[in-house]
Amino acid sequence: MALQSPYSADNQKLHDLVEELADQLCPAVDGQFDFSVKVSSHDESIDKLQMLVNLVLDSASRAVQELRGTKDYTENIIRSMIDMLLVVAPDGNIVTANEATCKLLGYRHQELIGHPASMLFCEEDISGAIRPQEAMLHKPGLPSCLAGEGSSGNVETTLRAKSGEEISVLLSDSTMLDGHGQFGGVVCIARDTTESRRLQAERERFNRVIQQSLNEIYIFDSETLHFVDVNYGARKNLGYSMAELREMTPLSLKPEFTAELFAELVKPLRSRTVQKIQFDTIHQRKNGSQYPVEVHLQLTDDHSPMFVAIILDIAERKAAETLLVEAKAVAESASAAKSDFLANMSHEIRTPMTAILGFAENMLDVEQSDSERLNCVHTIRRNGEYLLCLINDILDLSKIEAGEMVAECRDCHPCRVIAEVASLMRVPAAAKGLLLNIEYTGAIPETIPSDSTRLRQILINLIGNAIKFTETGTIRLVTSLVGSDDKPYLQFDVIDTGRGLTESQANKLFQPFMQADTSTTRKFGGTGLGLTISKRFAELLGGDVVISETELGVGSTFRATVATCRLDGMRMLDDPLSATTVPDAPVSVAQESQSDLQGFRILLVEDNRTNQALIVGMLKKVGADVSVEENGRLALDRVLASMQRTSGGHSQPPFDLILMDMQMPVMDGYKATGALRKEGYTGPIIALTANAMQGDGEECLQAGCDDYATKPIDRKKLIELIRRNAQLCPSQHGTISTGRC
């Protein structure tokens, strides 16, 4: 409905124009000014008014657009800020917080706006000191870092995230004044330094590692080649300071290098055809000394390329390589020697074996006379003994090389050993028409703590060699006490008038598997291991075996030494030669008493029928009463049954001694011995084992045996062993073995 007008027609028209103008202005109620008004008045006053209204609208529109632009611009700046922006009002509450703040602290925008800023600061940052602004804010809890006038500059502080996590920040704040020049709040900008601190710590750690690395690390300019950085390890090794190095290039360290050579070397790096090059060269220290190095060089790929070189000091490696080459040569030489040795062994084994088989074949000839057969038996026996000796030598050497040979340390009577050896060796010496003289220089201790068996073997070997390689003349064994009071030695010089040795022969004489001349093996026989074994034995006894003198065609002196330990309070023999007497000839079988083991009850546990017959024959010959069982189970049953009978009233134990083969079917000797000991059998048990290696005997003793004998069985030694153990009866378990039979 139209408004009722009180105006005249002209005035009404003017009124209508004003109304129309007013209507057109209504959109301004929405804050929209981007329009103009237009009425057709034909009235200059209205036109003037219309023009001015449009001028006002235009100005308002421009102002609004400008404000919006400014607001958007400001918001974009705040939004795009990586750093946190926080505006705190005078009342201590947050009025502005950008997205970075929300993101870092884990709050939603509305959880920050209008809330106290103090909730974001850790306790230690809230100072008790109240500054003027705080008083104005009535917020004593406002963080101290926000409490200064003007700007506090950059402050390292800690903010607390919504999760409670503490976040290190670098915070700067400035006081904001309002339109009236009054305190209007605080503007804070904070940067999360957690990552930068971590990176800084990483950089520092990395730098420390680089600096402390024992490898040398160089960084040098890719154009000028001047050193930019050199780690501490390198500076220390080279002897230059960093200031000195900055004036130098790597070429200064490389006496082998020229600039042209280096340029050629790094061409592939510069062309990026390779990422890294590696080469060996020589570096020179400030003091002029040189050392070999392995260089790993690369060119960094950034706007300012640098050469990075990691230098490895390869002096030790080079030395090791040299050693390796030498060791390889030694190993190859040893391998060749081993091949030679095996060839010799083959010869040495086949020769007696041929004789044994040949003479055994001859014995089958029914037409042979008794004397011819006896001759065959002697030959077979001699060659068999030689074979056994050869095997024992190989085993001894194997044990020594494996480090398993252990010398005993008991009272050893050196003069007695010498007398025994002399008695033994005079026989073969006499057979070659040689004299064997025993001589002493000075007093000799009556006893020394040593191993008589090994000493005996050493002397027998040295004298045996002397006899072997001497055609005429005399063999002398000269014994003397040498060394200091603290470190005395017994010295045994075996002096012969034999063929002597060249220097070359002498040099390789003590090497395992090596003989002076392989051809001599064929001429003189023997395993060629004797000297090596003797030397190792002497070393076990704290001494050595050396060639003291030798001259080709004149003779040699082989010197053995053994440690005696300190001789304080030890009895000395001033006339050792007359102090000991030993029979000159070994005890013959004929001299053995037939009744040595007369009535001695022995249980032989052996599965091999031949060995059964052999051992039974040996033992019966000396009067023993021998029973036989084929395996451990039968033996165990038999002994236990006898023991039960014994405990049931019989006065005597079932057997005086058990000979126990260790490898048997059904139940082996180890288990049988263990079971016997467990059941209370205390009589002596001697193990019979074909395993002659180190540790086998100990295993037998651990199983409960009192002693052990190694196959093939030596009759005399077995009887001696039985006799010795029979005297110990009842069994004394744990007695140290005196060695294998």
């Binding site: 103009s36 023009m51 449009n54 100005s59």
Partner: protein, 181 residues
């Protein structure tokens, strides 16, 4: 060009030479006899130039003479039509510094950017230590009219100032530069 100029130009012609002269100018300038020029509307610059040239012929006036006459007439009209603008300025310098904004105010009725641009930004004024430097750039090349108007303003306020043109588009300059000091 804003219609106020054309309107006042025809008012000048008719008041000084009669209505027939006005019709003759319209005829020569190819302007419809019944066309009314509104003070806030924008009109074609070429049409204005035809009117001005026709006026010179019909009234037998030289360029400068016509500009001086129009300036006097224009200022007299303005003093009546827009007295407040004169009151807003304490002197000619203040008035002349505001003049571009008043000029551009006539363009605010135009929402068409092209038409608005035809009015806007023809003037740019600098205040250099008391000297007013006006940069004028228009195809109409009415720098003479502006200088005449400026002198009239100076006279209105009773000030003592000299108006000089340092360079002119008519002489090939990219803009006219007028110094009032």
């Amino acid at each position: 060009m804003v219609g106020l100029i054309q309107k006042l130009l025809f008012d000048l012609i008719e008041s000084s030479a009669g209505e027939e002269a006005g019709r003759e100018v319209r005829r020569r300038a190819d302007v419809p006899q019944d066309k009314e020029f509104l003070i806030y509307e924008a009109y074609d610059d070429a049409e204005f130039r035809r009117i001005f040239a026709s006026m010179l012929d019909v009234l037998n006036l030289g360029q400068e003479e016509a500009e001086e006459a129009f300036a006097a007439f224009f200022l007299k009209d303005s003093e009546v039509r827009w007295p407040i603008w004169f009151k807003m300025a304490k002197n000619a310098r203040e008035f002349l510094l505001r003049q571009p904004r008043i000029h551009n105010g006539f363009a605010t009725s135009q929402r068409d950017p092209a038409l608005r641009a035809a009015i806007d930004d023809k003037f740019e004024v600098e205040d250099c230590d008391g000297e007013v430097i006006v940069h004028y750039k228009s195809a109409n090349q009415l720098c003479g009219l502006y200088m005449a108007l400026a002198r009239r303003v100076i006279i209105h306020y009773g000030d003592n100032a000299v108006v000089k043109e340092a360079c002119c588009m008519k002489n090939g300059a990219p803009e006219c530069e007028i110094h009032i000091l």
